[in-house]
């Protein structure tokens, strides 16, 4: 490992060594309090009674844990259904992006059709447009698709299709494909492989890291999005978790809302903890070098 801001030697001797351990101790404690503390507060707060919540100074442990808040949240908000919806939208978004964006990036990188660069330019130009600016005309499009006059309201396609129009991911994929040597492509073509087959059995297996990154981005985008699903999934049966909790919050006791927020957070936090190694390395190395 190469050296960083401070040399190893300095950290291993006398005062440097003491400072290093002291600082590490302070940072670990502070970060645990800052990032886990609120989560602990959320999990235990949802167990407290309304009376205990309003008490000063606040109690660190709930006195009589009311597990009913969690069961109430689960049933009243139909959290199972909301969670299922969110995962369903996220899975579809990954699938659509992987298929359509990979195909487009492959065409732009390796097949280079006429006007390919113009199309790529027009795609990249959309990166300059903040999503919220287009929210009204996009919503108009979803209410009634041009030419076909179909409404996509409450249809998962209203989330899946706009996700495909992601210039950043196409750019990432194209750059990765660009780095795959032309000789490999020529060899495959010479063996008589069709472009689809070359993509499937040669390019894609070599592209696992970048496909992982794109998938993570797609899942996070669906998970974090709020206004768009609020608009296009108005029916209670089709809502996402975030929108569902928001829609219920007004007429529901605080503790139940927080209990619902905890339950909603649990699945992703678990998934994150399981895959954190892959997610971290994907996010830090695959995409943003250079």
């Amino acid at each position: 490992m190469s050296r960083t801001l401070i040399s190893h030697a300095q950290l291993q001797r006398g005062r440097g060594r003491f400072l290093y351990w002291a600082l590490l101790g302070i940072v670990v404690t502070a970060f645990t309090l800052i990032f886990i503390g609120p989560l602990y507060w959320m999990v235990t707060g949802a167990l407290k009674s309304g009376q205990e919540i309003a008490q000063t100074p606040p109690t660190l442990f709930p006195r009589d844990p009311e597990f009913a808040n969690y069961t109430d949240a689960w049933t009243q908000l139909a959290l199972g259904k909301l969670l299922f919806n969110t995962f369903y939208y996220a899975a579809g978004a990954v699938l659509f992006q992987l298929i359509l964006d990979t195909a487009a990036a492959y065409a732009l990188s390796k097949l280079r059709p006429v006007f390919g660069n113009v199309i790529l330019g027009a795609m990249l130009a959309t990166l300059m447009i903040p999503a919220m600016v287009l929210i009204v005309p996009q919503y108009q499009t979803v209410i009634s698709l041009p030419v076909l006059d179909i409404s996509l309201i409450d249809s998962p396609f209203a989330i899946w299709l706009p996700m495909v129009a992601n210039a950043f991911n196409i750019f990432l994929l194209k750059r990765f494909f660009d780095s795959i040597p032309e000789e490999i492509m020529s060899a495959a073509f010479m063996d008589g492989a069709s472009p689809l087959r070359t993509l499937w059995s040669i390019l894609l297996p070599m592209s696992r890291p970048i496909l992982g990154v794109v998938s993570i981005f797609a899942v996070t985008a669906v998970w974090k999005d709020f206004l768009w699903p609020l608009l296009v999934m108005p029916h209670p049966e089709t809502r996402t978790v975030s929108v569902g909790i928001y829609a219920f919050a007004a007429g529901t006791p605080q503790n139940v809302v927080v209990a619902a927020s905890v339950i909603a957070a649990v699945p992703t936090v678990i998934i994150f903890l399981i895959f954190q190694r892959n997610i971290m390395s994907g996010l830090t190395t695959g995409s943003l070098k250079g």
């Binding site: 609120p38 359509l100 195909a103 996009q138 996070t220 974090k224 957070a265 190395t285």
Partner: protein, 309 residues
């Protein structure tokens, strides 16, 4: 590796060399591979872009659409909330830049120096990013920003002897409170990106700087920052564009507009016009104004950042 120059006589069609036939085939299949993504871009990006501009000059009443020139723009700008929303949005963006852009950089520098507990610290910082935004915001709304002394922040403040605050009920604390919540939720992403950038800095640069007698701060200033300039510039831009779209924080933390309009943001105003007041054309006009402001901003920024080279 041998360069493949000799055109191999595979599948040569009469009169057409294999190279041309491959080119033609690639062109057709190339467009076939592109069509799905292009359709989605057309439907959800390119077409809405034009449509938004057209809509901003129209008015639809009882199904009849007419051209009204600048009327929508005039109505939007004359709305007293317009200027308040811009003021709030810029204030939020400025504070969020200070906190959400500078703080992750120093956190990343710190984490990069540690050789223990690094993985644990990285997971901690990224954990809030994985929460659904509504979950994190209700946590802040109900527990952290409770205006009584029972609230988490007020309990901490009074424990260390500082004056407590009414947070979202106070019009002066609304925006700082939204910035704190938003930074806690989102800073993990920036920290990871900075960490990746820091790992690419060659160690001999620090070595050389140290031999020249550069202290800790000088090393950060003359080595770390110049070496990560591109990523810093990129993230600053992304942070500005992201924070200008402030919406869910006012909606959940401040129930929309907040105390005395203290939380009203431009995007919240777009949402109000379009989906509460049913004024889609006004909302479209506001969207175009926002696009122009951000475009002017990006242009100025690009100019500034290229001038330094």
């Amino acid at each position: 590796m041998a360069v493949i120059t000799a055109p191999a006589p595979v599948k040569a069609e009469a009169g057409v060399s294999s190279k041309t036939s491959r080119k033609l085939r690639d062109n057709l299949t190339g467009h076939a591979f592109l069509i799905g993504a292009v359709l989605c871009f057309g439907l959800f990006m390119w077409f809405p872009m034009i449509r938004g501009i057209v809509m901003s000059f129209q008015r639809t009443r009882r199904g009849v659409t007419t051209w009204v020139g600048w009327d929508n723009y005039v109505r939007i700008i004359e709305d007293p909330s317009f200027w308040v929303a811009w003021k709030n949005t810029f204030y939020f963006t400025g504070l969020a830049l200070l906190l959400g852009f500078v703080a992750p950089f120093f956190v990343a520098i710190l984490l990069n120096e540690f050789r223990h507990a690094k993985g644990y610290l990285r997971i901690l910082v990224y954990l809030p990013v994985m929460l659904p935004p509504a979950s994190a915001l209700y946590l802040f709304k109900y527990y952290a920003y409770d205006p009584s002394e029972a609230g988490l922040f007020n309990a901490i403040l009074s424990a260390v002897g500082l004056p407590t605050s009414e947070w979202m009920q106070s019009s002066t604390m609304t925006i700082p409170a939204m910035v704190i919540a938003s930074t806690w939720m989102n800073m993990g992403g920036a920290v990871l990106i900075y960490l990746a950038a820091l790992q690419n800095i060659p160690g001999d640069l620090y070595e050389a700087a140290e031999l020249d007698g550069a202290g800790l701060w000088k090393r950060i200033w003359h080595v770390t920052i110049p070496q990560t300039r591109l990523i810093l510039a990129l993230l600053a831009m992304m942070q500005i564009v992201a924070t200008m779209q402030l919406f869910i924080e006012p909606l959940i933390l401040a129930n929309g507009a907040g105390t005395q309009d203290a939380a009203t943001s431009v995007v919240y105003l777009i949402y109000q016009h379009a989906f509460v007041q049913n004024d889609l054309n006004g909302a479209a006009a506001l969207g175009v104004i926002m696009l122009l402001v951000l475009a002017a901003f990006s242009a100025a920024y690009l100019r500034l950042s290229t001038k330094q080279d």
